[in-house]
Amino acid sequence: MSISLETRKLKKYYPVRGGVFKRRIADVKAVDVVNLSIKKGECFGLVGESGCGKTTFGKTIIRLLDPTSGHIYFDAPEEVKEEIEKLESSSSSKNSPRLKKLIKQYDLAKFKGKKLKALRRKMQIVFQDPSTSLDPRMLVKDIAAEPLVVQKLAKGQKIRERVLEMLEKVGLDETHLYRYPHEFSGGQRQRIAIARALIINPEFVVLDEPTSSVDVSVRAQLLDLFQKLARDMGLTYLFISHDLSVVECISDKVAVMYLGKVVELASTPELFHNPLHPYTQALMSAIPVPDPTVKMKRILLTGDVPSPVNPPSGCRFHPRCAKAMENCRKEIPELVDIGNEHFVACELFKS
């Protein structure tokens, strides 16, 4: 399978301003050097605690936020990525016109204006909380039609037809067209948000905790819908969630994030059967199992996630890690392949 989206050394810092002239005094390192590649047709799960930067990552790759540095490639040929890397690494060619041209053409992180708008046709997002992501003063038919209007993909009667078709796909019907978002339940609102995202037939969809605000039974309905739509429309998902049990069921590959860094990356069955990073292990053991006969051994993490303004030195997990060693404090571990497409960033698996 070919790669749909890839990030290289992606960084997103939020400035913290202070002092008399509102100088930049520090950075919130929300996403700090993240390399991920998502294959076509895949559902890529991204998990982590709140404040670990998963939503920021999701918003940055579709350019709702501007990255601080790094590259985002969408459907770019492999040779181009290599060439850019090569040109950038040598100091002589750092300012070469060839590099500038390539970046302008392929690097999504630098896209502007028309090009960016064209890109939005292929990339869409479903936000976390549908009660805030839907305009309360717009009718459902207008909400769902907005992408079509903005992208000038349809006009007049055609819009209505497309909207109806899409609403039916997400399990709503004609009677819902002339209603406002507040008249719907949480699950139905999320369906409207999904319809809006998918109406222009995107290739890549970011699902930012789409099931966190709905009930258990509705969650199952939505997950089922996501799978069905992916099959029918050939979608690629980035599924952001803090609920590991959901991620286990829906995604093909999972990355675990902690304080702006990816600490572990593997295919779903591999990660859930053989979690290696101490953080992943703690996260897994925290899932309550819906079976009273199973007695879990908990790895309890003490304290909260440290502030990303001033993250701990070395491995960012070391203050909460039970297996922390001397070296963890000094060296930042890199993601290492330990076979079976399983990557882990931990001192324990260095060799």
């Binding site: 605690e49 039974s217 703690a282 009273p292």
Partner: protein
């Protein structure tokens, strides 16, 4: 084991402009001593309202229109819904306390967390605190006298004057302060205290404040909060969600209540923090021997924490059983569907068809019948009664 709390045929209605919302329709539950009862169900099924009704905390326009809440603890035996406000205030927080859903909304943003925990202490444990203050004053007094006596014995050489001085010392008393705290202990609402409060310096009750703060710090330490001396003086917004929830739990447990109602205490928290809080609740329960009503929609949490479970749907309880029994042998079609809708890897997602009915105009008979695959004619006619199908396994369904 005896029943500690029993809810009988509770009926709750909300009178809105759109119509009468029949929020609770004959809820029957009981809680035994030292057990954890889980209440599960979807949003809007009335689980939170059941919790609030027990303490008569239902917000307007809600009205409890029928039913009883029997509370029995030691020599206390009363029906809670018919009690006066003053009696209820006495019970809330001391005998039965509640952890609210969102810690961010449950805490008052303009008071420090220390003040908010102290509020409960001063309401219900003032006597105990005053006793401690008095003991301390007495101790200090004795020490002071001892010191003075030594000084007199050392310095005054003349036999007669020394004797006189010592006698004078014996008669000396620090009257004022002790008197205030004694009154406070006996009559917390005495008029004289209200006067004293207006007088500067005297009205500060500094000893009581110091003693309360000490107790608050002790509570915070039990909740495993790092650096409790600093946290006492912090405001809620300075704390993370997990810490805020700990404070709310601290407020609820400050007086060692016999019954604790926990209303989705971990819903807004992260997985790892949730694990911490669950662990904390379990340990605090073991220590204090409280009984817990745990309201949640997470089946995983129920499986882990509870001894018995009550499943609610659209305003009434449809199944009650022991945890292991319920998960192994669910009987009510709704319970079955709910358990099946938990995502499991490698299996297709199953969900309950249809949506939760509106409670202004709920379906007649069994409220689950429009979504139930086993619905019969009689289901549409009258609401099924609770039957004890097996020992300790109650189901409200015509199938059994």
């Amino acid at each position: 084991m005896s029943k500690l709390l029993e809810v009988q045929d509770l009926v709750l209605r909300f009178y809105t402009y759109a119509g009468v919302v029949k929020a609770l329709e004959g809820v029957n539950l009981y809680l035994k001593k030292e057990e954890t009862l889980g209440i599960v169900g979807e949003t809007g099924c009335g689980k939170t309202m059941t919790g609030l009704s027990i303490l008569s905390l239902v917000p307007p326009p809600g009205k409890i229109e029928g039913g009883k809440v029997m509370f029995q603890d030691g020599d206390k035996n009363m029906e809670l819904l018919s009690q006066k406000d003053a009696t209820l205030r006495d019970i809330r927080g001391r005998d039965i306390s509640i952890i609210f859903q969102e810690p961010g909304a449950a805490l008052n943003p303009v008071y420090t967390v220390g003040d908010q925990i102290a509020e409960v202490l001063l309401l219900h444990r003032k006597r105990e605190l005053c006793e401690r203050v008095l003991a301390q004053i007495e101790k200090e007094e004795l020490e002071k006298k001892e010191r003075k006596r030594k000084k007199i014995e050392k310095e005054i050489k003349d036999e007669d004057t020394r004797k006189r001085e010592l006698e004078k010392l014996e008669r000396q008393k620090r009257g004022m302060e002790k008197k205030i705290y004694r009154t406070m202990m006996k009559h917390p609402n005495a008029l004289s205290l209200k006067f004293f409060k207006r007088i500067p310096i005297i009205g500060r009750y500094r000893r009581l404040k110091r003693e309360t703060k000490k107790e608050v710090v002790k509570i915070l330490r039990e909740l495993e909060i790092a650096d409790p001396e600093r946290v006492v003086d912090m405001y809620p917004h300075e704390l993370s969600g997990g810490m805020q929830q700990r404070i709310v739990i601290g407020i609820a447990l400050a007086c060692n209540p016999t019954v604790l109602i926990a209303d989705e205490p971990t819903t807004s928290l992260d997985m790892t923090v949730q694990a911490q809080i669950l662990d904390l609740i379990r340990r605090l329960k073991e220590k204090s021997g409280s009984s817990i009503i745990y309201i949640t929609h997470d089946m995983g949490v129920v499986a882990e924490l509870c001894d018995r479970v009550a499943v609610m749907y659209a305003g009434s309880v449809c199944e009650v059983a022991e945890v292991k029994e319920l998960f192994k042998n669910p009987m009510h079609p709704y319970t079955k569907a709910l358990l099946e809708s938990i995502p499991r890897p490698g299996q297709a997602f199953k969900s309950i068809s249809g949506t939760v009915p509106g409670l202004i105009d709920p379906p007649p008979g069994c409220r689950f019948h429009p979504r139930c695959p086993f619905a019969k004619v009689e289901c549409t006619e009258a609401m099924p009664k609770m039957n004890e199908v097996k020992k300790e396994h109650f189901v409200a369904c015509y199938l059994y």
